[in-house]
Amino acid sequence: MNSPTRRADTADAQFLRVVAADARTVSTVRNEFGRWIRTHLAVDEERISDIVLAVNEALANSAEFAYRTFPKAGTVSLEARHGAASLVVEVSDNGVWYDEDPVRSRTRGRGIPLMKALSDGATIERRPDGTLVRLRFDDCGAAADRPGAMSDA
């Protein structure tokens, strides 16, 4: 089981952005993250699409919902770490968006089901200081020429 504390492990590839939680920056960060995946992971196009879409949905939920009742929008953080064979992505904000209302019209609410379908594990944690989405993608190999790439120990 992974320790919840942050390890400074230089063999892990990492990506971290903290940006304003709005539609424009979501799109920019998504594109940057897509490029990072292509550089650091050896996964096929379908997997890349799945990962980018799942992460987009988490970012988009923060941008759309997190700060709705706040006087102004806050930030959303995207942190990804790739170690061994798993990619773990955490998207967090300091707002309030996830609620368990099961009543959804047909034209809304596909983001969360998509995150669950596209990843190997998706959790949404509602905390007093904000919301944290954690997405896990298993069986993601490292790109062969990535510095510090290690095979499974």
Binding site: A23, S49, L53, E57
Partner: protein, 127 residues
């Protein structure tokens, strides 16, 4: 003889994103390029609405050149399909992991017909 009119296209200030409308007979084709996400989905919604106002017999939403389709974009397709029914048929052209796959995963293809390319869609609609 098919009448084809190149009508309008708009570019948002997002690099690479564009929407176009053209007609083949009485079938309107709304095509998009680039990413359809929460930022750009409203433009797609508007373009489909504009086409529907011209009363085509069918609308083809062509996502052939779309490289990313977020749930915001998929919601536009679902809502537009509801607007179009029952008078106008709406179908989608999409192929590949970024577009046709999420449409299938979300079950949208259970109620909106999906074609891998424009020719197939046109053939079916004008048959």
């Amino acid at each position: 003889m098919d009448a084809q009119q190149e009508s309008s296209s708009t570019n948002s200030d997002v690099a690479n994103f564009a929407i176009g409308e053209k007609w083949v007979g009485s079938v309107a084709i709304v095509s998009a390029t680039g990413a359809i996400d929460m930022l750009t989905a409203p433009e797609l919604a508007q373009a489909i609405r504009t086409s529907l106002d011209k009363q085509p017999t069918a609308v083809i939403v062509d996502l052939t050149d779309v490289d990313f389709l977020a749930s915001a974009g998929m919601q536009v397709l679902v809502a537009a399909n509801e607007d179009a029914e029952p008078d106008t048929r709406l179908v989608v052209v999409a192929d590949g992991p970024a577009t046709s796959r999420p449409l299938k995963i979300t079950g949208i293809t259970n109620f909106i017909d999906l074609y891998p390319n424009l020719d197939d869609a046109l053939e079916k609609l004008t048959a």
